[in-house]
């Protein structure tokens, strides 16, 4: 007997008990209980009559260093991190969005160097584009960029590099992150050495 069939039988029995109470018992409170039981039983039976769909979780993604052979592999992992652990999509959109609370990242890999992106992720307050992908006067965004390499997000260097690979690929740029830069298991996962200050290389739009 399937689970649904079993629950239907139980539901019918419960409704039957309720009907029996109303037919044969005179105590008022017990009759009210019988009435409630009938209502609940009918509700459950109706719910069992509609299409039964459970929502199963997708397979959990693991950052498997061994599986990375090409830069495209890194970008694929970076995309998953972007939309899950990295929490980037909580604020950023890829393409125009009414609900985005922060800059649109479409084409960001073409506009910024990997060093600048890395700095933006690990030292978000070092340099701020107030008018990145935004026409008109410089704009303050409601959400403040967190330190991606610290808690609660805490991406490792490998994960940050993968996200950068994804951003470059998504912008149609050649991926400048190499799989050889990935730290192998056993070596301590830590953020890369401080990148060179890149602010000076970029025309200042706002700080």
């Amino acid at each position: 007997m399937s689970e649904v069939a079993l629950l239907q039988v139980i539901g019918l029995c419960i409704v039957g008990i309720g009907v029996a109470i109303l037919l044969f018992i005179q105590a008022r409170f017990v009759r009210v209980v019988g009435f409630v039981v009938i209502v609940l039983g009918i509700f459950a039976l109706v719910a069992l009559g509609v299409p039964q769909m459970a929502s199963l979780p997708p397979a959990e993604e693991k950052f498997d260093v061994a599986s990375i052979k090409t830069a495209a592999d890194m970008a694929a992992i970076g995309q998953k991190i972007f939309f899950s652990k990295g929490q980037c999509a909580l604020c950023h959109s890829i393409g125009p969005s009414e609900s985005a609370r922060c800059p649109d990242l479409k084409g960001i890999g073409a506009k910024l160097t990997r060093e600048f992106i890395y700095e933006s992720l690990t030292q978000p307050q070092a340099y701020i584009y107030l008018d990145f992908r935004h026409e008109g006067p410089p704009k303050e965004y409601p959400a403040r960029m967190p330190y991606i390499n610290k808690n609660p997000i805490g991406l490792t260097k490998n994960e940050i590099l993968s996200v950068i690979a994804f951003l470059q690929q998504m912008s149609g740029e050649p991926i400048t992150v190499s799989p050889s830069e990935i730290e192998q298991a056993g070596s301590p996962a830590q953020p890369a050495a401080q990148p060179q200050k890149v602010a000076a290389l970029i025309p200042a739009h706002g700080r």
Binding site: V32, L40, L48, V50, M53, S55, S84, C91, P152, I153
Partner: protein
């Protein structure tokens, strides 16, 4: 995992029996402890444990039941103070002692439920810490300052409730009464904040925001102010009033059935009427708050919205329509019974309008319950030309559902107005003009709502959502805000033609009250499941994944069985608490509590009236 309010603070008990009840429940909870795996070797890396389970029962199922009971009790104890306080104000303003007595009776139900609510909150907290240590550590890291605020609020709420309840009789005269009313106001202020603080924890799970660097308070505040926090606050505030009103109505209904004296019958008939009135009063704006919440969810994350309305949860909204439909029908049915039994001679006069309203409600309910895609075999689908039936498919979309929901609200509102005006004859010179204006407003509003609904089929979705649906809501609100004061003004000078008679309602009216309460409780359990399931396999949406064996959302049938179980347990729990709370009354009832000596017509009744007042 279902996240609901946690009460880290156990509070005092207001009755001697409360502690006995609490003790029993704690013992029951302790009986589970061996299964929790708490006796694990303490040297094991406790911090690395992400989940614990109870074999056989399942940790999620246990949390589901406890959290649901806690949330329902919390809804009741936060909703009741609102109208208890309002009833007290009405009694104070009008001098009608019935309202004061009613407010006191509501508060008595509140005090006896309060301790149990806190107790279940405590049990829930222990279970959450035990079953989901990693998640709770994460949430604690973010929200710890608000935990402290919550504890303080609980202390303040408890102290205020002590003073409000125990000081009732001592603070009846002069300035003391004003102080008592102020305490009632404070009670509601603290209750409101007690509700919105845990709401921030639950809404953060559904619509998290990125937490930047900053002080603990800054981080907690950033997480608190998430996109769905205020929509949920408003929605729950109104829903708590609805829940409280209908439960008090059901309590009155059961007491009415077992009433032994005419005085008791009169009192509980009237209390049932007030409970139903409060329930309907909250029910009318509730769909608007729900619509706003759903809009914010779509705005925050379209995928989550699609999961709810078009994904695996879409059939849930058909069940929701069924429950809301039954609730509307039950509420209207109680009004109609009131008209035909409490107001002699009204049954003939109002037979046709009642029939018309019944037909409209049933038609609207039929449209609301029509699914967009039908369950059909391949052959049936071929005959239909797809899963959308050529005729029924038209009613399965939001444009139709928004329209009928608004029409049902309008009909229910008119049902109430009809009840209010029954047994009275307007004497104002401008009565005809006022009635014409009211009729015109209602007629035009209904037509415009329908026109916008039909027009909604021919415009882009964004236009319908942003403009048409909002316009429909504003139109219905305009009708309510126009007709209510006009009716009140008209009836101020109206002549009573038929005096309302309390205590003559048939037993089925009490069952209607019970049915309404069960429907509201089921609705809360259903939508709680929807809210939790919309996160799919995430504890915190897009941030912390559920990697336990329960990282799936069960199908509707299984979930409905749990909803029914939770509803039944809650009803029995509330019945037990109320029974314990009223034991003292039965002991005291040696005939001392006669009918409240209220001078006839001391206050205009909501329907019918008093010839004595007319003579004055």
């Amino acid at each position: 995992m279902r996240n609901h309010e946690h009460h880290p603070k156990r509070t005092g008990f207001f009755h001697g029996r409360g502690s006995v009840l609490a003790g029993l429940l704690v013992l029951t909870a302790l009986a589970f402890l061996p299964g929790l795996g708490l006796a694990q070797d303490a040297t094991s890396a406790a911090q690395s444990v992400a989940y614990r389970d109870i074999p056989g029962l399942g940790s999620r199922n246990v949390v589901w039941v406890i959290a649901q009971l806690h949330l329902l009790l919390a809804g009741f104890v936060l909703g009741v103070p609102i109208f208890a306080w309002l009833c007290e104000i009405v009694g104070w303003k009008t001098g009608d002692k019935r309202y004061d007595k009613l407010a006191k009776e509501f508060t008595k139900l509140l005090t006896s439920s309060y301790a149990t609510t806190a107790l279940f909150g405590g049990i829930l907290l222990f279970l959450l810490i035990g079953f989901y240590p990693k998640l709770m550590a994460y949430l604690t890291d973010i929200f710890f300052p608000s935990f402290i605020v919550y504890c303080l609020l609980f202390l303040l709420e408890t102290a205020t409730l002590y003073l409000y309840w125990y000081g009732w009789d001592a603070m009846q005269d002069g300035g003391m009464k004003s102080l008592h009313l102020f305490l009632g106001f404070l009670l509601n202020v603290f209750a409101f904040f007690i509700m919105i603080v845990p709401n921030s924890w639950a809404t953060f799970q559904a619509s998290p925001v990125v937490i930047s660097e900053g002080t603990e308070i800054q981080r907690a505040w950033a997480a608190t102010w998430n996109p769905t926090w205020w929509p949920v606050n408003i929605h729950r505030l109104i829903a708590n009033v609805v829940l409280g009103g209908y439960i008090c109505g059901a309590y009155a209904g059961i007491r009415y059935l077992s009433a032994k004296s005419p005085e008791e019958r009169d009192h509980y008939d009237w209390m049932g009427y007030v409970g139903n009135f409060i329930g309907v009063f909250g029910l009318l704006p509730l769909p608007f708050a729900g619509y706003w919440l759903m809009r914010e969810i779509y705005q925050y994350n379209q995928q989550m919205g699609i999961t709810l309305m078009g994904g695996f949860l879409s059939w849930l909204f058909i069940l929701q329509a069924m429950l809301i439909g039954v609730l509307f029908l039950g509420s209207n049915y109680y009004f109609w019974l009131g008209i035909t039994h409490r107001i002699p001679g009204a049954e003939v006069k109002y037979k046709r309008p009642i029939m018309a309203m019944l037909v409209i409600l049933l038609l609207c309910l039929g449209v609301w319950m029509t699914p967009h895609s039908l369950v059909a075999s391949l052959e049936e689908a071929r005959k239909m030309g797809g899963t959308h039936h050529p005729l029924l498919g038209v009613f399965g979309v939001m444009s139709a559902k928004m329209t009928v929901a608004n029409l049902m609200i309008l009909v229910t509102f008119m049902s109430f107005i009809m009840y209010w005006r029954a047994g009275k004859q307007e004497t104002a010179t401008w009565a005809k003009v006022a009635k014409a204006i009211m009729g015109g407003v209602l007629g035009v509003a209904a037509v415009v709502v329908i026109v916008l609904g039909v027009w909604g089929y021919f415009v882009p979705a964004i236009v319908r959502i942003n403009y048409f649906s909002v316009a429909q809501v504003l139109i219905v609100l305009f009708v309510m805000l126009t007709i209510t004061p006009l009716t009140a003004l008209l009836l101020r000078s109206a002549k009573t033609t038929t005096e309302m008679v309390w205590g003559r309602m048939p037993p089925r009216s009490a069952y209607a009250l019970v049915l309404n309460a069960v429907m509201v409780i089921l609705l809360m359990t259903l939508m709680g499941y929807a809210r939790s399931s919309s996160r799919v396999h995430w504890h915190i949406y897009g941030v912390m994944r559920d990697s336990s064996q329960y990282a799936y959302s069960p199908a509707l049938g299984y979930a409905a069985a749990f909803m029914s179980l939770n509803t039944f347990l809650f009803c029995m729990l509330v019945a037990f608490i109320f029974w314990v709370a009223t034991m003292g009354d039965k002991a005291k009832a040696g005939g001392t509590e006669g009918k409240a000596k209220v001078p006839a017509g001391a206050v205009p009744a909501m329907a019918g009236g008093s010839p004595a007042l007319d003579k004055e």
